[in-house]
Symmetry: C4
Subunit: 201 residues, 4 copies
């Protein structure tokens, strides 16, 4: 509980709030039909992926740059952070997501707000299928995050934030958004943490 | 005032002129319907973002690679540069932007010049909304720039210029151009400088 | 044969299984008409390329991150791995590809499964032409992999995984998928290994 | 003339041949309507830019990875290579470009070969305009190459090859191909070499 009294702990919590707010702002903003150009999956996926890369570059050295509750949960399962810190991170992430959506709602004209509804399942895709896909997408994301932030590793790695951003990007190229449902990403995050630790130790 | 007499100061001012000229040349050039292919937001955003990355790679070690008056203003607020230097940078940037637009105008056939008009607000978006969006976009850009150029930081960062370029890119994926209006970016830049310093110190 | 008894050998084989499973899952998944947006070659190429980059980041320090039998074959020709290890890698890759396709089949609604058929030749392209293209695409991929993982090299290299991912990406921008046919990639891989060794030694 | 007898000189010449062959193969191949998907400027620009990045990663440590006669000319003007070496590089690049085009011609079905014609000026764009654009595009490319390969520089640079590739990419996003005409790129290359040396010394 000593963390509670340190200033750097609260800065990290604020950084998670900041990161999630902007991630939701960019991600949902790109999914709106906000501009007149043609609009496709590639556009949305790039916006999600590069927003993740940019925000992790911005706050990664302060809080670790989780942005997503599933990632925080995976770090908890992988025994890389305390339960206390994880709870505060997840609360900050939820508040940040709300704030980002509120800002976006405020700056969107009425005639576009209809699209602000979150992702719905396409006809023919059952809930089980969607959850399985989310498990897989979160699993590869968490393995990628654990691999690029592994301190025992050396070699030509380049930018860790960019690698994680591209991992988010390919997840969205498959057409489903991470972090909206809770069950799939949590299972995927836990499995990812376990698989990565199994592969290395 | 000693800076005024050093050669490296004038080289930095020239580098800002050079960078802004090419940034405007590429950015506006991509927004023109210059080619026969399909033309979308992704195209324009990639051109702005990767032009920023390329130019910051080219001049970052000479002048810092601000390119944008809002970024120079943020450095000024963050007490990382002198007022004197900031004024010369902003003048050079404005002249560079004019030169870039003039070159582009010269090489564009008459039948395409109509599009050279700058960004107009879409119907339904008020001036307040647009300014708020610009504040947010500049804020995340400035926080990203401050984070990747922070000398106290270490770790797997990769290319700072590319990270900043992607930050510019996601700003343009939301469909508004930075640096055209003056009020929004300045407020965003100042807020970004303050937030980043608050998060770290 | 001592490798057979070490734990790290089996972890590397598992990592190859893991990497190929996700590579096939993402690559074929992106090629399905899974979403409602417009769908083009750029989308599929980015998904293949960035999936390769992400997976090589994830498993590169464990198994080398081959993912593709042609790459393993090239390493064998270039005398950089034992025959024993190569055989196990290729078996794991084939099982991984099957598993990835099975998972994708399971989560795809019936009305989309028709597209799961693999790449067919376009009318007018003979088998010889297609094989020649595959030889060339695999050749440049293998030369790129050998160059970026060459330990004698130093300098500003950035991320090796990203470089390999972009090499995969440009291969798919030409519109043919790697690793489906066996003859072309094998010849290309062997030629790449020989050309690279010739250029350097 | 001592270079003539060293093995590494001939390897570098071969590497330039190899690099230019694949650059032309990928660049022209992407510009063909080879696939059935939609086809746009972004596709071609990514193929050119990432092919440049991949090939410079592959041969940069052997020959420097010029690929383009204009770049070799700029190095010559910047006094960074001997005239003798430059002549051999340019000859190898021309032969490589021919070989790449020949391979592409061989593997392209008859009904698509019509597009293999090189870039023609769009109606309304005069030769002077096109040459000016080429001067500018080559200028920024050469300044970028000189900046990222400058050995006196340190800092967070990431991948030099990727930076150059993105510089090529934004040049093609403006819709004109580099290296086809000879006058514009040569002037631009020489100007870039002079400007960069002026900015630094």
């Amino acid at each position: 509980m000593w963390e509670f009294r340190s200033m750097s702990f609260w800065r990290a919590v604020f950084a998670e709030f900041y990161g999630t707010m902007f991630f939701v702002f960019f991600g949902l903003g790109a999914a709106l039909r906000w501009t007149t150009g043609s609009h496709n999956v590639l556009h949305v996926a790039f916006c999600f992926g590069l927003a993740a890369a940019t925000l992790i570059q911005s706050i990664g050295h302060i809080s670790g740059g989780h942005i997503n509750p599933a990632v925080t949960f995976a770090y908890l399962i992988g025994s890389q952070m305390s339960l206390f810190r994880a709870v505060f991170y997840i609360v900050a992430q939820c508040l940040g997501a709300l704030a980002g959506a509120a800002v976006l709602y405020g700056v969107t004209p009425n005639n576009m707000r209809g699209n602000l509804a979150l992702n719905m399942l396409q006809p023919g895709i059952s809930l089980g299928m969607a959850t399985t896909v989310e498990v897989f997408l979160t699993l590869q994301l968490v393995v990628c995050i654990f691999a690029v932030t592994d301190e025992r590793r050396n070699g030509r790695l380049g930018s860790a934030a960019l690698a994680i951003g591209f991992s988010v990007l390919i997840g969205h190229l498959l057409g489903l958004r991470l972090g909206v449902y809770w069950v799939g990403p949590m299972i995927g995050g836990a499995m990812g943490a376990i698989i990565y630790d199994f592969m290395l130790f």
